[in-house]
Assembly symmetry: C2
Homo-oligomer: 181 residues x 2
């Protein structure tokens, strides 16, 4: 019965983490604020009060995810500024399936002007950061991003990450990636 009371900032952080999980599973339109509330252990109206709007909460989740991706890349880049190094660090992110898939749901929700603009901006930023960290050619960076999108889509299809659905083409595809990723 730990009815601990948190500051709004702390509670917002918990709600945000819950939102990443929920949105990652069911996307923007498919996720109900009530579900996020249950995950976070608070009431649904409180979720709304903390973030104002479902849309704003989704934007916050998107930004959180992109921040973490950039952070991961920066750390990998600090160790070794190669595409291979960043690629490996991306693999570390895959186990947290929701994380990557939230981003995919952001892309998918780009028809909403507000979400679309945010998502384009963040994707462009990741693209730029990868280039800056590695000094790779535009072609190499593009190819890196393409591989990232493939992995993200596969995460969404649940053939990678925890409890993966076994799939002949998926294992084949993954092995052909590791040969020169």
């Amino acid at each position: 019965m730990t009815k601990t009371r948190l500051t709004a900032a702390e509670r917002s952080e918990e709600v945000l983490q819950a939102a990443v999980v929920a949105f990652g599973a069911n996307g923007y339109a498919g996720t109900k604020t009530d579900e996020i509330a249950r995950l976070a252990g608070v009431s649904q109206p409180y979720v709304i009060r903390l973030f104002g709007t479902k849309q704003q909460l989704f934007l916050a989740a998107t930004h959180r995810v992109c921040d973490r991706i950039e952070e991961t890349f920066r750390q990998a880049g600090a160790r070794e500024g190669s595409l291979a190094s960043l690629g490996e660090s991306y693999n570390e992110l895959i186990p947290e399936r929701e994380l990557l898939v939230v981003l995919l749901h952001g892309f998918a929700a780009s028809n909403d002007p507000v979400i679309g603009e945010a998502v384009r901006e963040r994707f462009g930023r990741i693209h730029r950061v990868v280039g800056e960290l590695t000094g790779a050619t535009p072609e190499e960076v593009t190819r890196f991003m393409a591989t990232g999108m493939l992995l993200t889509v596969m995460a969404a299809m649940q053939v990678t990450g925890p409890n993966p659905v076994s799939c002949s083409w998926a294992t084949e595809l993954l092995s052909s990636l590791s040969t020169k990723d």
Copy 2:
């Protein structure tokens, strides 16, 4: 006032095309059957009666899209069995933004077991078909699929296709693709 009456099969075809457009714009959860009905020029209950369920309609739209992609690849492969040839044919698909984006929405909706299974099956099939048509190595095929996913995501973000949102990173990225796609 052309109150033409069609057979159920013909009307279903029109509804299905409308569904591809609508689902492509707003995804599975984000699209209302009523919207599809308006696009097709029929009443919302009739849409349901023709396809039974919103989910079944989405599945039909997904299969339709995948059929068209495979068809396009087969035709290109018949002309010339190279990855470059298939890649060019994919570019022809991009102007019909909805088409590719429906597939992305399918990936995103993979949390639904029925949709997930269908989408995994179709993606695997495309992967296999590309391999068969081109005789390329697994690594090359995987890279082809990765590029395809990148293009699909970019289509969703509306930086390619009709009325593209202008975006510095997008033009840069696209030009680096055309150098050796």
